[in-house]
Amino acid sequence: MVVSLPWASGWFRRQAHRPAAYLNILLTLLAFVHGSLLLQEVFLQGPVDLSYPWLTVADLELDISFSLTLNNLVALELITGLSLFSQVYSLGYMDKEWALARFFALLGFFEGAMSGVVLSDSLFQSYFLLEMLTLSTYLLVGFWYAQPLVVTAARDAFLTKRVGDVLLLMGVVALCSFSGVMGFGDLYAWAAQNNLTSFAATLLGLGLIAGPTGKCAQFPMHLWLDEAMEGPNPASILRNSVVVTCGAIVLLKVMPILQLSPVALAVLLVIGSISAIGGSLVAIAQVDIKRTLSYSTTAHLGLVFIAIALQIPVLALLLLYTHAVSKALLSMSVGGVIASTNCQDITELGGLGSRMPATTTSYLVGGAGLVAFLPLGGFLAMAQGIELLSVRSVPFMAVFLLTNALTALNLVRVFRHVFLGDVLIKSRRAAEVNWQMALPMVALSVVVVLTPVLLVRLESLDGLLAFPLWAAALVVGSGLIGLVAGAVLPLSKAWSRSLNPLLRWFQDLLAYDFYTERFYRITIVNVVAGFSRLAFWFDRNVVDGVLHGVARLSMQSAEGLKLSVSGQSQSYVLTVLVAIVLFLTSVSWFLT
């Protein structure tokens, strides 16, 4: 019921305008309130499982099942809450949009699918909903379908996720065949006493991580998130915060199954590390304000992947929650900048700080929440992480700290560009955003500030604050290094593209995202296109060619036979009879 609330609203009102938006907001609010009531109940009385049979065929039994545990409900609250904020926000942002109702319908669909994913208690259902998420992402990114960049962005978003999803489907189908069950609880039980060959387990594990890799925009399937920024900003808010969270939560749910395959876990670690460090580096080289954020999302989710690969679910969840609220706030703030300046290039912006106080504050608060700023959520998560990692795997501590420093550097750099400095031409007439956008920003800022309190209260984690001082010092230190580096980094225009060839090469490498796009084009796109051309050529020339050859041959022999035509019907009948007799004898000889 919780799930269907926001979802249902998506379907049936595409044509109405504002009322549709209001209704959707109302339903999301209802879902949020309902979710909080449930949360309270579960908090007091323990988790509840709901299950309804859906499809039973032969030896396959599929259920619709939800697991109302504390973690799942917190994630649900996160989703409905952020969705509520971004819906109010889009009332302001999409003020003059003609297809507002369609936008809200899609948002409702989107939100419904996400709520379902986090509550889902079966792998099949999770796949089902993840795929719907793929579809709704495609439609949302492609919302302004008349713009060429949007068209490619939507295509890439869909296809990249689809690659991940097809691999995931292979994993799901294989798992379903091997184990015969789909509920997570049953799967864990099966995994505990598995008897798979290591090869099968490896393939299975790789399949299972491919889906979340695509969803969470991890290397090498990260390009779509960046391109998807062409879509409407309110959807970007959700995409950068909760959609990636959904992917990670699915990964978290299959974590016990991944343990079967050490290779998959290693791959997960590699993916996470590359995404974390690579993502933060690439973010620094971007000049598009939205892209700086999207790459930092990739980087943070990389940290989550590392946490999952090292089997530390607590850390993964902490990182996810703190990241989601802060990143949503940052995205809102950035959206505000774009809405009032119509400009996304940070080198063309400046001095917005005094003109847009609410937006600036949100940026600061969001940024502080994201990097390990002392009492906020990000700090708690990071410090906890360092402490947990120190006993498990020290090298990844370095990854965490480096990512934190680079993120801080990036955020400070963007802040200096956009909000400080001289007022440039494009930001001359910028004014503060309208109240529909400001309200959610302010509200979410409060939430970010309160996150540590909420975490301590909600998560029954005894050790949330129990990290040693040195961990805290390391985290704060890394943040400070980034901060200082970002603050002293020269921002002059001349530096935005260096003349030093080596530096320039490096800059370009990062700015163009390690040339991943070109790499795709050369490899997978070319291969598929090549094969398709080959198939088409083969079709026209070989398959059809043989057919035409046979036809020509028979025409020619008919021409030849024409000469033996006598005009007597008896001879025809005789020919036919002889043919039939010959045929039947041959058949009977052959068959007996």
Partner: protein
Amino acid sequence: MYLSLLLLIPFLGALALIIWPGSASSARLRELTIVLLAVQCVASFALLLPFDPDQAGLQLVEQARWVHVIGLDYALAVDGLSLPLVLMNGVLCLVAAVASREITNRPRIYFALLLVISGAVNGAFLAQNLLLFFLFYELELIPLWLLIAVWGGANRAYAATKFLIVTAVSGVLILLAFLGLALVTGTMDFSLRPILSGEMGMTSQLVLMGALLIGFGIKIPLFPFHTWLPDAHTEASTPVSVLLAGVLLKLGTYGLLRFCLGLFPEAWQVASPWLAGWAAISVLYGSLAAIAQTDMKRMVAYSSVGHMGYVLLAAAAATPLGLMGALFQMVSHGLISGVLFLAVGVVYARTGTRDLNVLRGLLNPERGLPLTGSLMIIGVMASAGIPGMAGFISEFLIFRGSLQPFPLATLLSMVGSGLTAVYFLLLVNRAFFGRLAIAAGAVVNPRILQSVPLREQVPAIALTLGVLVLGLAPELLSGLSEAATTSLSQLSGGLS
């Protein structure tokens, strides 16, 4: 008597249309046909009342001696395998008639042929006598040939002739196999029952099954017997395409399950690894060839080649789940390709082209075809196997049912499912996204596209609803057929 009604309504209706005195307008004839087909459709759905889904065997049997000397008897019956197909035939024929609003050339014959096809297809699905099946199988050929040859596009003569010759070969092969069966078993009794090794050597079984396999493989169509299909689709008018893809191809897959698997379970088991490989090739080949197409209709046609390959894959595995998936795929493909062809038909009617290099931005709300575009997107996504729609259920069942016996072929077919997303996304992105009529080079249609009245979209909307309903409540279909597919699977020892 009940099943005969499903044949009598269309056949007598066709006769009535032909001999209807005086001159009747095309619109009047269409209305009449719609009424007849609606009655037939309702009558098909009324079969659900007496039908017992828990019973695996034949139901509502009707039998009468006919030309008994050559083994041709009139025997009809329905089971879980044929019932969904009969229902789909009822729906799609009605849709085709509703969509035939622009027939000005000899409407009387056109609608009569439509009715004949509908009756013949029902006959083929219901026939329980091999010769009777063959009779109906051939009976549907001639009207379809005429429908393409007379009411088709510019290159219709080539396409229609190709269709006729190639599918006639298919008919000959099937007849040969049936005759061979009679020769070997020594009886002229063509009633359907599995041939077991006691009665016939494995070689003979394989030869006869091979003939059937190629015969139905042409009809399905499977690589390399598929080239007639894109040509036929390109030249056929929209309603005929709907029928061709939705109903007539299913005769091939139905034959595959009913005769190849049903009559030669042992030979089938021997051949199944090869069949799975063939299926994977067909899937990949169809999908790859579809990517290279620039004509929307050809693209959808090649997608049929790929998607029918899944049916062969599942049939080869012959697990209960796989067979259910195969049946589900037949129905969902029928509905989905109906939606796609109807949408393409609207685009072609409004813009005069189906060329993806030229079309742009058709989703434009004022000057474009927004509703058609939305239906197209849903159809495309259903075809690509996005959950919530019928295509996903069938793909999941097929993959799950075939993975254990044939892991490699199944994984390759899944890649094909990913490729479906590639070509259909290309289609939507090129034709519907972007800006209207600013394509480089020739501007298709500078004037405002005439908007499509809602009532013309009713068939496509209805089919789309069907796709969604089956996708969300698959039990509706699986419940009907589970007993039948399970017993078919046990026949070939597919449970192992």
